[in-house]
Symmetry: C2
């Protein structure tokens, strides 16, 4: 459990280093839904959405993660927003980005080096664009990993005072999102002229 | 160019270590098409198919890859076959698995450790199931990377005498495919009872 908790801290820090407090929001988005008390329902079909990229042991911090495990992060976006981005280089309202944090698998005799993804999900983080609902147009949510009480249920919005919002605003290549790390979208945004000039 | 060539050798070796000679096959599959001379047309929409998993620096060999670059591999399957696998734990005819080999991105000041995916694709390998067309039910194809002459065009089938076929038959967890490395499908195949008993 200690190991899982360590990984969760890293997982959350990938989008939002200091956002652990929570508050609520409301209404339904195009690819997500909310509970009566404004929590975001877990977007259970995200693995069938459009895949954008994966990272391996990425971190905002140079400190060792201390978990003893390698960590993959896999990013998905709802298909309609992906197609809108292909056309315009911009995210429309209704965009939902889902970051899945997945522990590397155990050794396998067929694989002589490197890492593959295992079955343990240690966190799921969601970034929703809805300019009518959220200050600044976007909100973050964080779900727990496999077996945790918040996995496959609902999550409260992370308060807009959290550092993740300021960091994404300052460094996001397109509209507070880290398109600089999304290899198929980066050239597209460059062509469309929608890259934030001080990004990267 | 030397670096790219080195990565291509690794890329091909991930599925098929010794398969460099080529021969032809025929007909159209459900998610792929063929040229008049039986080469497989590049499956250009694969990035919108269902994502299965990624590896990082995976290799059948313990030897250093010598490229000086980290390498991600991203695996996709056509959506209809993904849904069929969800129902049955088996791959139907028409299944197309696409393995994209992508070089890690250059350093970025926001990322203090680990690796992210860059824009350079160094190879695309395809595994097609069509029991009416191929001996053993499956065939492999290998496309080059970004900028190579075989990227975004067509590829001849890799001969069934190549080692990749024997290796996948001996070690593939489900029907010659490496489901032991696909974290969302492995538990499903276990539940459905379709895992090859000597796999892993």
């Amino acid at each position: 459990m200690g190991t899982t908790k360590g990984l969760l801290v890293i997982a959350i820090s990938l989008i939002c280093p200091l956002a652990l407090a929570q508050e609520s929001a409301a209404q339904e988005g195009s690819s997500v839904s909310y509970t009566a008390d404004a929590r975001l329902n877990f977007p259970g079909s995200y693995r069938e959405w459009v895949y954008l990229t994966s990272g391996f042991d990425m971190s905002y911090s140079a400190a060792a993660n201390g978990s003893g495990h390698h960590l993959f992060d896999n990013l998905f976006v709802n298909p309609a927003s992906y197609r809108a981005f292909e056309r315009s280089g911009r995210w429309p309202d209704g965009t939902v980005l889902v970051l899945e944090l997945r522990r590397a698998g155990a050794d396998n005799p067929l694989n002589k080096q490197g890492s593959f993804q295992g079955t343990a999900v240690v966190g799921v983080e969601v970034h929703v664009r809805d300019s009518a609902r959220f200050a600044g147009g976007w909100a973050f949510y964080s779900f727990g990993g496999t077996g945790s009480s918040s996995f496959n249920t609902a999550a409260k919005v992370i308060p807009h005072s959290a550092d993740c919002y300021a960091c994404h605003t300052a460094h996001g290549a397109v509209d507070t999102t880290f398109v600089q790390f999304y290899p198929t979208l980066l050239p597209l945004a460059r062509t469309k002229g929608t890259l934030f000039s001080s990004s990267r």
